[in-house]
Point group: C2
């Protein structure tokens, strides 16, 4: 197996954090997004959407989408379980994965696409769309903070794949995109400090 | 268990189609979106995002997010498997679930939010955002068509939860939202006819 990766992008980092938490070691093949290598014909044959990360199996099968790659690895290496054991745990983790994706990452991506100079050549930017989505991100931060007021980790008492996904998403939003969470969101801040202190955060 | 539902909305329908395919029968509790009942304090206590569907368990636990609900039911009733058996099947189904969600439903939702009279009172509509997303939907339709040129169902040779999710999404896009797929996409059309002919499509 090999993982097509780009160090500074948030979605490949989700998988790297997950692998670090599981103790899984897979060769990383760098694909330079700044040079648009992910849109080359060779790479589009691996993932027609031209996005990272992609996991290539020994038989040439390619799996794209960060969480799909993590699920594949989870099926191969079930311990420690990061997608839950019981039906209720599995559902809660999936619920939070989707809330993070749809309510945090999607609007963060819109702020990035419509508001950042680095993406200006890729689409016709609509500044008003960036502003609307910035507000959506802040609403989602409140939801995260509320959840973390009553739970150690985002999907409950244990660290799960949802924490890996949220950390990569939040660091991207706070950093490159420039939508930091408000310092009054103390539960989110507590969680952020704790997951950043884990060795996996360096991945 | 009971499922909070709204007949005309696409996301509750995903779960109803899935349940019909599995032969699962759960009481449906109607929540009237047109009367904004999903934003009432009682309902927000079940799902702080104020969205449908929500599955309420006997102990009062609430699970929201359509695919999280399906995963919960899959853990309770594994047969027939609609989320895959092998690691590769599970990953492929998750990959397509995410492609449908992020590349079809997200832009379809944007066309709906920014372009439809029914949603005009809910946000400041940006007509240019509706137009941009309409193009994204059509790009995604091509991806679906390409995949279905070589596979009976969207994630491979068998009917899976990804087909249930795609059918509900596509019918919403084609109908209420007004972004029908082009008739030249013959493989998508073939698939659409076949899944519509299954009894579960009436759910």
């Amino acid at each position: 197996m090999k993982l097509y990766d780009y160090k500074a992008a948030p979605n490949p980092r989700r998988v790297r954090i997950y692998m670090a938490e599981k103790g899984i070691d897979i060769p990383l093949i760098p694909v330079d997004i700044m040079k648009r290598e992910q849109k080359s014909p060779d790479f589009l044959a691996k993932n027609p959407l031209g996005s990272l990360p992609v996991l290539e199996l020994a038989d040439g099968t390619c799996i794209s989408e960060s969480v799909a790659i993590c699920r594949y690895l989870e099926a191969l290496y079930p311990e420690p379980p990061l997608f839950g054991r019981t039906a209720a745990e599995k559902a809660r983790i999936e619920m939070w994965l989707r809330r993070i994706e749809l309510n945090v990452m999607v609007p963060v991506g819109m702020v990035w696409a419509h508001g950042h100079p680095l993406t200006a050549s890729l689409l016709k930017q609509i500044p008003e769309a960036a502003e609307q989505n910035r507000k959506r991100v802040h609403l989602a931060y409140k939801l995260l903070n509320e959840q973390l007021s009553g739970a150690a980790f985002i999907a409950g008492p244990d660290y799960t794949v949802a924490d890996a996904v949220l950390l990569a998403t939040l660091d991207f939003a706070n950093g490159l995109v420039g939508v930091p969470y408000e310092s009054c969101l103390t539960h989110l801040k507590r969680w952020h400090g704790e997951v950043l202190a884990r060795p996996s955060a360096a991945a």
